[in-house]
């Protein structure tokens, strides 16, 4: 299993600003995933972050809006840029252990005013 922590746990931000979310894993992992969970919506994959390469973004998500860093095998950051109220959501990082197992962090609850 993997233990994942995220910072901050929650934040309230003004529109037009940016927020960087940190994700720390207690073991070295090749791939880290960033998800968004909007109220009443499915958990949606934003991007996959591999250490040493550019993140791979899913349809509908772009690097300019959600830049990701992956400086080592235990850490990643997701930045939500130029925020609008539509970005209010829970952001979760995750690591995988094969197809069937994904461990999630506790999430970062973001409210954009």
């Amino acid at each position: 299993s993997a233990v994942i922590s995220q910072k901050p746990s929650r934040d309230i931000c003004q529109r037009g600003t940016s927020l960087t979310i940190q994700c720390q894993v207690d073991s070295q992992v090749t791939m880290m995933f960033w998800y968004r969970q909007q109220p009443g919506q499915s958990l949606t994959l934003i991007a996959t972050a591999n250490q040493g390469s550019e993140a791979t973004y899913e349809s509908g998500f772009v690097i300019d809006k959600f830049p990701i860093s992956r400086p080592n095998l235990t850490f990643s950051t997701l930045t939500v840029s130029n925020m609008s109220p539509e970005d209010s959501s829970i952001y979760l990082c995750s690591v995988g252990s094969g197809r069937e197992t994904q461990y999630f962090g506790p999430g970062t609850r973001l409210l954009v005013l």
Binding site: I4, S42, L92, S94, T101, F104, P106
Partner: protein
């Protein structure tokens, strides 16, 4: 038609009852089927995993997959107040396939009444 459909609930049942949670899906390429449990203000945690069709039992939990009907279920026996959570179904296709991304349902909120 959405790829994965799941009734959001809420579903309220008395303690000790059998709970049935369900998802339907449209993509016949899905082979891996998962159920996650998410407590309030926590991240999802994997509860059950099934490959292809069939049943899988783990304590009070049973997962069923009917690929012919594109229908999966999670049964909780002797439900407890601690089972109150949101249950997310998830599924994916073969690794390396264009369908290998994990697709989640919206989740069903379950309340077990003491």
């Amino acid at each position: 038609q959405k790829e994965v459909e799941q009734d959001p609930g809420p579903l309220s049942v008395p303690e000790g009852a059998i709970v049935s949670l369900n998802c339907t899906y449209s993509n016949s390429a899905f082979q891996y089927f998962m159920w996650y449990r998410q407590y309030s203000r926590k991240g999802p945690e994997l509860l059950m995993y099934t490959y292809s069709s069939g049943n899988k039992e783990d304590g009070r939990f049973t997962a069923q997959v009917d690929k012919s009907s594109k229908y999966i279920s999670l049964f909780i026996r002797d439900s407890q107040p601690s089972d109150s959570a949101t249950y997310l179904c998830a599924m994916s296709g073969p690794l390396g396939n264009r369908d290998d991304k994990i697709i989640f349902g919206k989740g069903t909120r379950l309340h077990i009444l003491p």
